[in-house]
Structure formats: C-alpha cells, structure tokens
Subunit: 223 residues, 2 copies
C-alpha cells in the first residue's frame, strides 16, 4: 500500500479498477462456462470451461475461489437469465389464463433451450442454495399474482400462498419428468395441459368462494 | 478358513450365522439412528446415534461402511415405513375422493409425526438417490390409480402419467412449505385443501373427455 501511495495513484482508484476488471473477467468466464455446460452437459469439466474461455485452467482460479465459487456464479447467472425471461410477463396486464400460459410457456421454452444448464442448476439443490433461491423468487412472483385475485375471491392469504407454492411444484415436477422423457408431449401440448391443470384449481378455488374468475378479465394488483 | 474347517463347523454355516447376526445388528442400529434423528434433528451426529444404540461409535462402523452407508440404511428404512403407511390404501377399493383424501392425509400424518426424519431423508436428494427412489415408488402408485380411470376417461397414457407426477410434485412442494411454516393451516385443513386441488384437476380432465367421474364410484384397476 505504501508503494502505491508513493507513485501518486490513489490506492482506492487502483483497487476500484482491479475490482471492475475482476468483475468483467468473472462475467466473461461465467458466460464461457455456460457455453461449456450447454455443450458438454451438467458434468462439464473445469478443463472444458477453461477451453471455452480460451485461458489455461489455473487462470480461471485467479478469478474464482475454487470450483464451488465458479459453480455458484454460473448458477446465479442462470437464475438471473431465467428471471429476466419471465420478468416482462408479471407486469404485462395479461388476462389470467394468458398470464398462466405465458409463464408456463416461456419457462418451458427457456428450460427446453437450456436443458443442460437447467440440469446443472438442479445439481445445486442443497449445496449453494442458488436453485432454491431461484425457486423462491418464482414462488414470490406467483404469490403476487394470486394475491391480486385474493380479495376478489375472498380466500385466506395462507391458502393462496400455499397454492402458489404448490403450483410451482406441480409445474416443476411435470417439466423435470418431461425433460427426462419428452416422448408423447410436444412443448405446446404440455403447456396447454399445465395451463388446464392450473386453471382448474384456480377456478375451483374461486367457485368455492362464490366467485367466478373471468379468464379474460385483467385484475390489477392492489385494485 | 482352514482353521474353521479343522474344528468341524462348515464355513458357510458360520458365515450364514454371521450374516444373519450382522443384518439383525444393522437393523437395530438403524432403529436407534432413527430415534436419534427424531430427537436431535437432521444434523444428528454419529456420536448421538451411537449413544442411542448404546454402543461406542467405532462399533457402529463394524456394521456400516462409513457414514454414507449408515445414512443410506436409515433413508431406506424411512422410505419403507412411509410406503407401508400408504400401502393398505392402494388396494382398499375406496371411492376416488376418499382415496385421494386417504393418501394425502396419511402422508401428512406420517410426515408430521416424523418431521425430522423426513428432513433427514430430503438431505439425501442427489446423493444416495433413496429419496428419489421413494418418490418414484409413490408416483408409480399414483400412476396405477390414475390408469384405472384412464380407460373410462379416454385420456392418453402420457397425459395421465405426467399428471400423476405433477400431483406428487404439487403435494410435495405444499407439504414442504407447510413443514417449514405450519402457521395458518391445521393438518385437516391442509388435507382438505390438497384434496380439492387434486380433485379439481381430475374432474376437469374427465370433463374435457366428456366424462363425469363420480367421486363416490369405485373403479377397479383393469376393469
């Protein structure tokens, strides 16, 4: 630190530049790692990631604290990309059936296009917790949507929260099985099937409270 | 071996007795481990398992090939017990709504009474695969039941298989969340809610195929 000061460059300027450089390189390496996962599958070797990044393997570890840190960074980026894929839908003011169809369809598209990355992410369950946090974020969005209908329906909050969690589990289990064995279902057919299941539950819930949800009627949150 | 033969006892008689002894001791230690898990939680220490078994810790490892082997044995036993809890229901000839209520209710009871064991079992996801095998067994049973209605409904096999997988995911996600935060729901209320959700999907599926399933009408598999 003394030497840095003696040549006139403020220490924090240097360290800021290094931090920025480090962040940029990490992001580049994470992108490369994602390409390597897509190509080689969830059991991708660090060597293959280094090759995709165009650097020798030890260089990777100047930017990541070991394999787990690299894995976590890739998982976090994958969750970010998935969230970004769905983000516009939550605020699009879609009628309920269209919203369900949009969220299910885009999730299926993203997972179908990034099947290896999704499997890589799932390996993470119970270790870094990134997958669980990603699922929690998705649940929160679904809870927000269901909450927008709650007042109209008159169902208790804990029921609709539980339902949102259950619906995410319903879709997740079905999609995981579909990825493992996609025979039978095309993407569109599976989407329509999932939309029907979800809609059957939602409309039954409304009916029980003496309300009919209009599938084409937009409900604005908080209105 | 030569010494064994020289004293006149057949080697295979001895090894059979040893194998039987070993199996019995393993079973006793697994029972003790399960008590220790229930008492101390999913992060139970091997020391606490040894205490519950009333033996010094090294003695445990004369019967198990390390911690992973003990963990796998406990997980397998837990899945066996859970399966045994549900087993009578699959063949009881119950009307469909009663069957759904029975399976959901008994699952909730078992998981509620063995919450620490269930959490311990879930830690196993992706390691020994016992939890995944247990879930597959449950899915197969649900598929069997749904298959019994398939001919009547006229839905394609891959749809009803996917639905069975999805329903298990729906219940699993909801119950896991309920265990983490049971506020709001009582056991009976959660059971009824889950039964409604499942029933809403099943009756919608039947309706789409122009069939009304009578919730009180027993369908015998294969009939």
């Amino acid at each position: 630190m003394a030497r840095v000061k003696s040549i006139g460059a403020p220490a924090d300027g240097r360290s800021t530049r290094w931090a920025q450089h480090r962040e940029r390189r990490r992001a580049e390496f994470v992108d490369a790692a994602m390409r390597a996962v897509e190509q080689h599958g969830p059991d991708v070797l660090t060597e293959q990631i280094a090759t995709a990044a165009g650097v020798p393997r030890p260089k990777l570890y100047r930017y990541f604290d070991g394999k787990a840190d690299l894995h976590r960074a890739v998982a976090e980026r994958a969750v970010e990309l998935f969230d970004a894929e769905l983000e516009p839908l939550w605020h699009a003011g879609l009628p309920p059936v269209e919203l369900v169809r949009g969220v299910v369809g885009r999730s299926l598209d993203w997972i179908g296009e990034h099947a290896n990355l999704y499997r890589y992410l799932q390996r993470d369950v119970g270790s870094t917790g990134v997958y669980d946090r990603g699922r929690s974020a998705l649940r929160s969005q679904v809870i927000n949507v269901v909450t927008a209908y709650r007042d109209a329906i008159g169902a208790p909050a804990y029921r609709t929260d539980a339902l949102a969690v259950g619906l995410v589990g319903l879709v997740e289990a079905t999609v995981d099985q579909w990825l493992a064995d996609p025979s039978g279902f095309g993407r569109d057919e599976l989407t329509e099937e999932l939309v029907r299941w979800i809609w059957a539950i939602l409309s039954d819930l409304a009916q029980r409270h003496g309300v009919r949800i209009d599938p084409e009627q937009v409900v604005i949150a908080g209105s």
